[in-house]
């Protein structure tokens, strides 16, 4: 099988996998980065959201060729110690119920706020509408994204 170099959370990693292996499974099964979740496998639920050069993307629908030469950030690399403003807001509001979708929610919100630090309520709903929360923690997600937006000023991404 071919060998690939990928840049994840600021480190260069070598993986030996079939070329059609979705990035989701490379992260989970080969690099032990299990924070990125499998939910649907077809880009519909958002549980597998990661950042590719700062843009939120569905890792279940990405091939290794598509991330060649790009920087990947997963939930494990969003901050050194869980103190990204979005993570802190998620903690302050106590968003999760089962928690399974929340890494994807946080990755979507953090990429969105990096580009739109002063969002309207409508902006927030548009940005978050691709991420399903089966426990329906949506009222808290809205609140947490708003709180995070207020604390994003000058925040530098960890990687």
């Amino acid at each position: 099988m071919p060998t690939y170099q990928i840049n994840v959370n600021g480190a260069s990693k070598t993986v030996d996998v079939a070329e059609d292996t979705p990035v989701l499974w490379v992260l989970r099964d080969h690099l032990d980065l299990v924070g990125t979740k499998y939910g649907c496998g077809i880009g519909q639920c958002g549980a597998c959201t990661i950042h590719v050069d700062g843009t939120a993307m569905r890792s279940c629908s990405l091939t290794l060729a598509q991330i060649d030469g790009k920087s990947i950030t997963t939930i494990e690399g969003l901050s050194e110690d869980g103190t990204h403003p979005v993570q802190e807001a998620w903690k302050e509001v106590d968003v999760p119920q089962c928690g399974y979708c929340q890494a994807g929610q946080i990755m979507t919100a953090s990429a969105f706020l990096a580009k739109n630090p002063n969002p309207s309520e409508e902006d927030i709903e548009n940005a978050m509408n691709g991420n399903i929360c089966r426990c329906a923690t949506y009222t808290r997600i809205r609140k947490a994204v708003q709180i995070a937006a207020e604390n994003m000023d000058g925040y530098q991404l960890f990687t």
Binding site: V34, G35, G41, Q44, G82, N129, N131, T139
Partner: protein
């Protein structure tokens, strides 16, 4: 330090040597729900790596430095018990919550009882036992301190894990824990008054929050061990089909594939021995692909060419629809409750109203697809994963493999959603058969498609309700249920309006399908509440009385003291109604806000909900739900509010969008592209109010869901003039519009 004197002064029945465990750990367990008899467990069932820890019982471990670990016994599916159950222990133990470390307990039938996440019962059933656990441990610790000081325990006070005597001397729990752990566990220890609570009633964050927001390994899907392989299973493509033959030559040649074989023999043996499990286990053999990674296993599975034959007839939603209607029209019912004479009262009525309500199948759609780890060795059967019923499932696995119950070691992971699906451990049983055959550690992973196509669904149900009114009073109420596979359980016919109407009857009929069905969050009531509460609104319109007054008048007729079958309290129901009217601004809203009302009782909890639908650009939009809950004492308001909001929105989402149709024996949707779940844009605001009455806690995981669909339907009726008789409501989009003439007007 000599402890002999200490022990002589205390009521000591069993002296347990702490050398009995490697490294000096001590574990005393007692079954809280039976007699509190201490017993020594031969081997540590939990990790006693921290050797300075002392264990009081299966729930509490205290270190010499006073740090406290509390084991949460029940599965955590997102309902928050991993936080709230330890809070109850910590309260009575009287320790600072900040010093408490919470760990998930494993399945341990010697020490815990009812390790189940289901029926909204964890807190309700655990309430007395968890408080006794904390209080008993506290009394043991205080006894040792008092004996050391030579004073009576009643002269000692405790705050945040520090014991103080009348002279002002102090001892920490860590100072006395070694001796205290060797005492007999006291029984019937006095408990705190609610006014003395320091931990319960305070907003307490989810104990796993840091791990969740940083992506740590928590779930069954995340679990890995050395040498583990991944299993993906090719299942019959439709219900009623069976494997005939297969060709795996292409799949075997694919990278990463370790082995391909079939399972089914042992599962069928189990189903024969345990008839009640047959409903969740297919007769057919299934083809298992073992590979070095999840992707390789899933991919190779697609390369298998399999032939299937139809054993029982392929079913469809179209047929179910006709069958259920025929059942309602027929006369083959089982009567679950009958008061007075419904037939006669209906014949004598001035006015009669009859309506039929329809619901589809629903998948559970847990975000974490079904999965389980199994490793079967001569020594033991090691199972790890997300399961709502660990004890029952471990028992089935023991029977499946012909092993002793003690051979099964089951660890519960945090669960990425349950909603009833993970009450049925068929995936764990499958994992055990696979691992037994593979002779290596295996993780079985369902794809989303398998999860949705091979589910244990909420069954399709139809309700027909007929009521009679005479002299301005509701004199008859006849509820008929026609359901696929199974009917409402015994308590439901005694919910409201049972006891409120003189002539009252509940009849059920069912059709046996080859599609697997089971419990889905708030079974039966998740649809029944909408049907009945829509009906009450329509009945009030027919009678030309106030909708809420009709409900209050009916409640006035109920006397639970005369009828012990009655499950709900009319007083508590009236209180939630009153508060909901007040908090929702019922009847005081501007003209373009249309409200719908529902009051309901299930899972021992009384709830009232009001939905607000507003007209925006000529379209009715669901904006807000006000939810008033009487679940007694709220252990953790922060978690409880989350659960209330989730339950309400679950009810909103599934009544608006949820539908799994069947054609040719299989669902017409198998992923979230064609099966619609609630998303953030469609989620209304939820405003939550708890009734503060100091009564013992009841259920909260389910009871806020059932009323939501009814509140939404009643609010849409108010906004559009259209009654909604079918779920999901979006299936009839024309009924969700404001009639044209009103827009023009």
């Amino acid at each position: 330090m000599s402890t002999n004197n200490t022990f002589n002064t205390l009521n000591r029945r069993a002296f347990l040597r702490n050398s009995s465990l490697a490294g000096g750990g001590l574990l005393i367990g007692f079954n809280l729900f039976q007699a509190c008899k201490p017993k020594v467990i031969a081997e540590p069932a939990i990790d006693l790596a921290s050797l300075d820890y002392n264990d009081f019982n299966a729930f509490i471990k205290i270190a010499d430095n006073g740090a406290v670990t509390i084991f949460s016994p029940n599965p955590e599916v997102g309902q928050g018990v991993k936080t709230s159950m330890p809070m109850i222990i910590a309260e009575e133990l009287d320790v600072a919550w900040d010093n408490v470390y919470v760990e998930q307990g494993i399945l341990d039938t010697n020490n815990y009882t009812r390790q189940v996440a289901g029926g909204s019962q964890s807190i309700r059933f655990g309430w007395d036992a968890l408080r006794q656990t904390g209080a008993a441990a506290k009394q043991m610790l205080v006894s040792v301190a008092a004996a050391r000081w030579g004073v009576d325990p009643s002269e000692c006070t405790v705050s945040e894990g520090v014991i103080t005597n009348a002279a002002g001397e102090t001892l920490g729990y860590g100072d006395v824990v070694k001796d205290a752990a060797q005492l007999e566990v006291p029984e019937n220890v006095p408990l705190k008054k609610t006014s003395e609570y320091k931990i319960m009633g305070k907003d307490t964050p989810n104990v796993d929050i840091d791990k969740i927001i940083t992506g740590k390994s928590l779930y069954g899907m995340d679990y890995k061990t050395e040498g583990m392989v991944y299993a993906s299973v090719l299942r019959p493509p439709a219900f009623g089909q069976k494997l005939v033959s297969y060709d795996d030559s292409a799949a075997r040649a694919m990278p990463g594939v370790v082995d391909i074989f079939t399972i089914g023999e042992k599962l069928r043996g189990l189903a024969e021995a345990v008839p009640r499990i047959t409903g969740i286990i297919s007769d057919s053999d299934k083809i298992v692909v073992l590979a070095n990674s999840t992707w390789e296993a899933m991919k190779a599975k697609k390369a298998i060419k399999a032939e299937w034959e139809e054993v029982t007839k392929a079913e469809s939603t179209e047929e179910h629809d006709k069958i259920l209607t025929n059942l309602l029209d027929g006369n083959k019912f089982e009567t679950l409750r009958s008061d007075g004479n419904v037939k006669k009262a209906l014949a004598e009525a001035d006015q009669v109203l009859e309506r039929t309500y329809e619901s589809p199948f629903l998948p559970h759609s847990c975000m974490e697809p079904m999965n389980f780890f199994a490793n079967v060795t001569e020594e033991k059967v090691h199972l790890v994963g997300p399961i709502q019923t660990p004890e029952g499932t471990a028992g089935f696995v023991a029977q499946l493999l012909g092993r002793e119950a003690d051979d099964i070691h089951l660890e519960m992971t945090r669960i990425g959603g349950g909603f009833g699906r993970r009450l049925y451990g068929n995936f764990a049983i499958e994992a055990a058969e696979i691992a037994d055959k593979a002779k290596k550690p295996v993780k079985l992973v369902f794809s989303r498609e398998e999860d949705m196509e091979d589910g244990i669904y909420r069954m399709s149900i139809k309700y027909r309700i007929k009521a009679g009114v005479k002299d301005g009073k509701v004199t008859a109420y006849h509820l008929k249920e026609a359901a696929v596979n199974s009917n409402m359980y015994g308590l439901v016919p005694n919910f409201f309006p049972a006891g409120a109407i003189e002539n009252y009857q509940v009849d059920t009929a069912k059709y046996d399908s080859n599609i697997t069905t089971g419990a889905w969050r708030a079974p039966y009531t998740n649809f029944l509440a909408y049907a009945e509460q829509s009906f009450f609104d329509e009945l009030a319109e027919l009678m030309e009385v106030d909708k809420i007054q009709l409900r209050l008048d009916l409640l006035d007729n109920v006397n639970p003291e005369e009828d012990e079958r009655i499950q709900y309290s009319p007083e508590r129901m009236k209180e939630v109604i009153k508060v909901a009217v007040d908090k929702s601004g019922w009847g005081k809203k501007p003209e373009d806000v249309h409200q719908g009302f529902v009051n309901y009782y299930c899972h021992n909890t009384h709830v009232a909900e009001v939905a607000d639908v507003e007209i925006e650009n000529g379209e009715p939009v669901l904006k807000k739900i006000t939810c008033v809950v009487d679940c007694g004492i709220v252990v953790n308001p922060l978690g409880a509010k989350n659960l209330v909001e989730g339950g309400v929105l679950d009810g909103v989402g599934h009544s608006m969008f949820g539908e799994l149709a069947f054609k040719d024996g299989k669902p017409t949707a198998n992923n979230f592209d064609r099966y619609q779940l609630l998303r953030i844009k469609d989620a209304p605001v939820v405003e939550t109010h708890f009734i503060d009455n100091g009564l013992s806690p009841t259920g909260l995981g389910e009871p806020t869901l059932p009323p939501a669909g009814g509140a939404v339907a009643n609010a849409f009726k108010s906004a559009t003039g259209n009654r909604l008789y079918k779920q999901p409501f979006t299936k009839t989009p024309e009924l969700l519009k404001v009639p044209e003439k009103e827009i023009i007007g």
